[in-house]
């Protein structure tokens, strides 16, 4: 069975947009041209890497097709389940007396520097399914306790 790719609405739009742009780019390249729009990195830096190398471009297109075929949308749970940490939730936790805030997302959208942590990392995996005031123990040496202070579901950007 193929792996499911969990994506928010915005994450899916980004993937779809990239896929469409890369298809266009491939069409131009196979005709021996290069679309002017891609010449400026300010216009769309995301696709720069694939400009020079057709093989890389084709690999990325296949990769995106696989994602789009196996996508599982992240949708907010029913109101009575919104007190439980699930994919797409934003949580406030207390760790060693400090507060932190994360969004729990699928691996494709994970970007810890921006506060989006993956449901497949050790913290993400363990914290899923917990409720407010639960203390989630991560690791043994060192053992760190994440106390859940707040859970909310909002539109991801």
């Amino acid at each position: 069975m193929s792996k499911k790719f969990f994506l928010t609405k915005n994450g899916l739009s980004r993937i779809e947009r990239e896929y469409q742009e890369l298809l266009k780019l491939k069409a131009f390249k196979t005709k021996g041209e290069s679309p002017r729009i891609f010449h400026s990195e300010e216009v769309d830096p995301e696709f720069l890497a694939f400009q020079e190398d057709l093989e890389l471009l084709e690999t990325r297109i296949v990769e995106l097709e696989l994602v789009l075929k196996n996508v599982q949308m992240i949708v907010p749970p029913a109101k009575d389940k919104q007190n439980i940490v699930d994919l797409g939730s934003t949580i406030v936790v207390e760790i060693d007396g400090q507060q932190d805030e994360f969004r729990i997302v699928g691996t494709l959208e994970a970007n810890p520097a921006m506060g989006n942590i993956s449901n497949e990392c050790l913290v993400g995996k363990k914290i899923l399914g917990h409720k407010i005031d639960d203390e989630v123990v991560i690791g043994s040496d060192p053992k760190i306790i994440y106390k859940i202070k707040e859970i909310r579901y909002e539109e991801l950007c």
Binding site: E41, P45, E46, L48, A49, Q51, E52, L56, T59, R60, E63, T90, I95, D96, G97, Q98, Q99, D100, E101, F102, R103, T107, A110, N111, P112, A113, M114, G115, I117, S118, N119, E120, C121, L122, V123, G124, I138, G139, D141, P142, I144
Partner: protein, 210 residues
């Protein structure tokens, strides 16, 4: 070829830039950016071989380029973004046992500022190179910074593990305490199954050696 000579000369200077994490924990022999780039590349390449469908050429390119910009902006640790580190170094161990915590808004702001500064620094470093090479270096860095592809995500996580390994080595060789934050940050950032396995091996291996 003068432009290449200048570029290689500048890349050589990365040897002289110490890794901020090593300095903060008080290492007498801190690692430097060149060491870090080299070992991150080796780790990403060899561990990447354990995975299916990773483009290893891309992995290597990203790993080698990812910290070039530090020639001009220096290496920063997550603690450098805090208002201030206390002047009294005796207070540092308590601080380093905790991972610096920020709100979502602060995280996004810091990440965007960092990307902007580092992008400018990279542009300065590569400005005299031929456009095709410049573009390739910049696109690999952008891919890494924007966490765009599976290769970039993989290298980013290996980057974290290289720093963790370095901290463990400092602990062993120089009897410096390995602060909890090295583990905490890694547990929140690493989601690749092979790298999670590797992280757990690191824990076991260095525990045995204590």
């Amino acid at each position: 070829m003068k432009n290449f000579v200048n570029f290689f000369n500048n890349i050589g200077k990365l040897r002289k830039i110490p890794r901020r994490g090593s300095v903060l924990i008080g290492s007498k022999q801190p690692s430097n950016i060149s060491d870090h780039l080299f070992r991150t590349a080796i780790m990403a390449w060899t561990l990447g071989k354990e995975k299916k469908n990773l483009n290893l050429r891309k992995v290597l390119e990203i790993a080698l380029v990812h910290d070039f910009c530090e020639l001009y902006v220096g290496d920063k640790s997550p603690y450098d973004y805090m208002a201030t580190l206390p002047k009294d170094k005796k207070k540092w161990p308590d601080i380093f046992d905790k991972w610096p915590r920020y709100s979502l808004v602060e995280k996004e702001k810091m990440a965007l500022e960092k990307r902007k500064k580092e992008g400018k620094a990279l542009d300065k470093l590569i400005q005299s190179l031929p456009p095709k090479i410049r573009k390739s270096l910049k696109s690999n860095w952008l891919e890494y910074e924007n966490n765009l592809t599976k290769e970039a995500k993989f290298v980013k996580q290996v980057n974290r593990l290289e720093a963790l390994l370095q901290a463990l080595e400092h602990g062993q060789e120089e009897k410096i305490r390995v602060y909890k934050s090295w583990w905490i940050g890694s547990r929140e950032k690493i989601d690749d199954p092979i790298l999670i396995k590797f992280m757990s091996s690191l824990a076991k291996e260095f525990k045995t050696k204590k």
